[in-house]
Structure formats: C-alpha cells, structure tokens
C-alpha cells in the first residue's frame, strides 16, 4: 500500500522540471501562460444530482418496505461498486495517473474527481443503510448470531474507513478542485493534497480487502 501512496510521480507529487511547469507556475496572474490549461469544470456536477436523489429515494423505499430483495440489491450493488472503485482507484488508476503528463493529469482530475464527489457518498450511504437494515432483517446483527464477532469487526473496519475517507480523503479531493479553479493554482498545494489523497486511498483500499474477507466469511459460514 505504501508503494502506491509514495510512488514517484503519483499525481501531484512529482517535482516538476521547468519545462513541465504546472498550470499557473508561470505567467501573469489570471492567465495560464506557460502551463497547461485547466478545462472548465464544476466542483459538484449538478447534472448528476437527480440521479443521486433518485438513488436515495429508492433507498428510503427499500428501508421503509423492508423487503429482502430491495435491501439486498442496494447493499450488494452499492457495496460492490464502493469496494471495486476503491480498489481500482488505489491499485490501477493511481499508478497510471502517476505516469501521465501534467496536462493529462489535470484534465483527468478535473473530469474525474467532481464525479467522485457525488458517486462515493451515495454508494457509501446506500451500502451502510441497506446493509444495516439487511442485517436486522436476517438476524446477523444480533449478538446471538454465530459470527457476531465478524459483524463487529466489520463495524470497526467501516469506522476506520469513515474517519479516513471523510476526515482526510474527501476534504483533500474537494480542496484540490478548489485549487484547480483558481486562475493560478499552486503546485505545492496540489502536491500536498494529492499525496494525502493517494495515501488515504491506499488505506481505504486495504480496509476494503478486509471488508471483502469479512463479508465473504459471513456469507458462507
């Protein structure tokens, strides 16, 4: 995990040669002269909000109806996507990003990260809410359940992930987007925040592996 977190050239962490100076490193204030242009982007893509609202309404209906299929659907689909995205980001996308040119990294970041601002919280709340209700439904939440220790372990794993993701990763994500919105983004600020982003993505990736172990254990024993 540390290899990913500290990989040379991970997005925003690579010291830049003068001929590869990042956006805003040269040129007059308010201009991008001397650096790659930052594409126009919205920090929160408003077009995605109706989808988020629809998912959350579906989640409320699933919880209110308390039907096994709907709870299982939300928990498995959202949980699978959450785990898959975290692992794919940490182990595949992150290293690839580190090897892209600076303009490519900026373009990818400005197109990718705003979507994550909507996608990840929606997946997380869907997974946890439906999972909690599902566990109430089938009795695996009860202390009398044979593998209750594993369930409590999953609480702890989710708790660690919540602290890391909400306390460190997501703020870094948002702050990078605000920095890239500036006429003259500061490469050092982006570098510091992206180091934090990559490092915490590695931690949540490790926690996701633990989640996979726990959930497959609970589901098969």
């Amino acid at each position: 995990m540390a290899d990913i977190a500290l990989e040379p050239g991970a997005i925003g962490t690579e010291p830049l040669a003068p001929d590869r100076a990042p956006v805003g490193a040269q040129g007059p204030p308010g201009a991008h002269a001397g650096g790659p242009a930052v594409p126009a982007f919205d920090i929160v893509p408003l077009r995605g909000l109706p989808i988020v609202v629809a998912v959350l309404v579906g989640l409320v209906v699933a919880v209110a109806s308390n039907t096994l299929w709907s709870l299982d659907f939300f928990h498995v689909v959202a949980g699978g996507l959450w785990t898959g995205i975290d692992l794919f980001l940490g182990f595949v996308i992150g290293p690839i990003l580190g090897r892209l040119s600076i303009p490519a990294r900026i373009e990818f970041t400005t197109r990718f990260m705003p979507k994550m601002v909507l996608i990840m919280p929606t997946l997380v709340i869907s997974t946890l809410t439906a999972g909690w209700q599902l566990a109430r439904h089938d009795g695996t939440l009860l202390a009398s359940y044979g593998h209750h220790d594993w369930i409590v372990a999953s609480f702890i794993v989710v708790g660690v992930m919540a602290v890391v993701a909400l306390g460190l990763l997501e703020p870094a994500n948002i702050a990078v987007l605000f920095e890239l919105k500036k006429p003259q983004p500061n490469p050092a600020v982006i570098g510091r925040l992206m180091r934090r982003f990559i490092f915490t993505a590695g931690i949540t990736g490790a926690m996701q592996v633990a989640t996979l172990v726990i959930m497959t254990r609970v589901a098969t024993t």
Binding site: L6, P8, T13, E14, P15, L16, A21, P22, A25, V44, L56, L59, V60, V63, A64, N66, P121, I125, L128, T129, W132, Q133, R136, L141, L142, A143, V152, F155, I156, G159, A162, V163, L166, G167, L168, E170, P171, A172, I174, A175, F178, E179, N186, P187, A188, V189, G191, R192, L193, R195
Partner: protein
C-alpha cells in the same frame, strides 16, 4: 524517490503553505472518531442496550472537541471565511441528508428513549463535523488579504 527527497515544488514558499493554523481539522476528525466509536458501542450488543455511560461520555467528548475546534477557528484572523461557509453550508446540507437517513433507520427499527437520543446526538455532531473539516481544508489554502 519521493517529492520531499527531490526538492520543493513550485509555490512551496507561498504564504498559504507557510501559515500555521490551529489544529481545527485534527480536533474535528477526533470528534468524528469519537461519535463513530460511540455508534459501534451502541450497535455491537444488539438487541441488548449497552451501558449508556460510555456512549454518553463519547458523545460529550465529541462535542467538547468540536467546541474547542470551533473556538480556535473563530480566533483565526484573517481567514477565507467566505470559502469556509460556502463549502460547509453545502456540505452540511449533504450530511444532514445522510444523518437523516441513518436516523430514519434507527427510528424505523424501534430504537426509542435514551439510546435514540444518544444516537441522534451522535448523528448531529457527525453532520457538523464533516462539513467543518471540508470547509476548513478548502479555506486554509485560499489566499487572503490583510486582516
């Protein structure tokens, strides 16, 4: 070889990088960690109700850390308050929805009385913690004029 070993990035000497600020984010993350531990404490022995003293203590600790963080933050001058409020306001709306969903589940499951009050209190602190961390992290890197 890490960035730190290769020399500073351009902009490392900018005022926003050199400025020392109180540990607002650290204290608020601590507050969030306490309410999460409290939630685990409450959920682990279901359907039994756990001893509520530790849960109450964790909630009080979380509120205290949040209060200290807010107190330290309010003393920072100058600061990009407009950015902090912009991010924290929308973050609060989002996390109020998330906390509301979790509260709805607890109520739907029949949680009542003091355990419900404690859980709702923890959710309320959580719904303030996260937007504050988001807003502070964004605002601390904004250039500001003189006080």
């Amino acid at each position: 070889m890490s960035a730190a070993e290769s020399g500073p990035l351009p902009g490392s000497d900018a005022p926003v990088m050199r400025r020392r600020l109180p540990p607002v984010a650290e204290l608020t993350v601590g507050s969030m960690a306490l309410v999460i531990v409290g939630g685990i404490w409450m959920a682990a022995p279901l359907p039994a109700t756990p001893p509520l003293g530790p849960a109450f203590g964790l909630l009080l600790g979380a509120v205290a850390l949040l209060a200290v963080a807010l107190g330290l933050l309010l003393r920072v001058r100058p600061f990009a308050w407009d950015r902090l409020l912009l991010v924290a306001r929308w973050g609060f709306v989002a996390y109020l929805v998330i906390a509301g969903l979790l509260g709805f589940v607890f109520i739907k499951d029949g949680t009542r009385g003091t355990p419900l009050a404690l859980l709702l209190g923890m959710l309320a602190v959580f719904a303030v913690d996260v937007p504050l961390i988001l807003g502070f992290t964004v605002a601390r890197y904004q250039e500001i004029g003189p006080a």
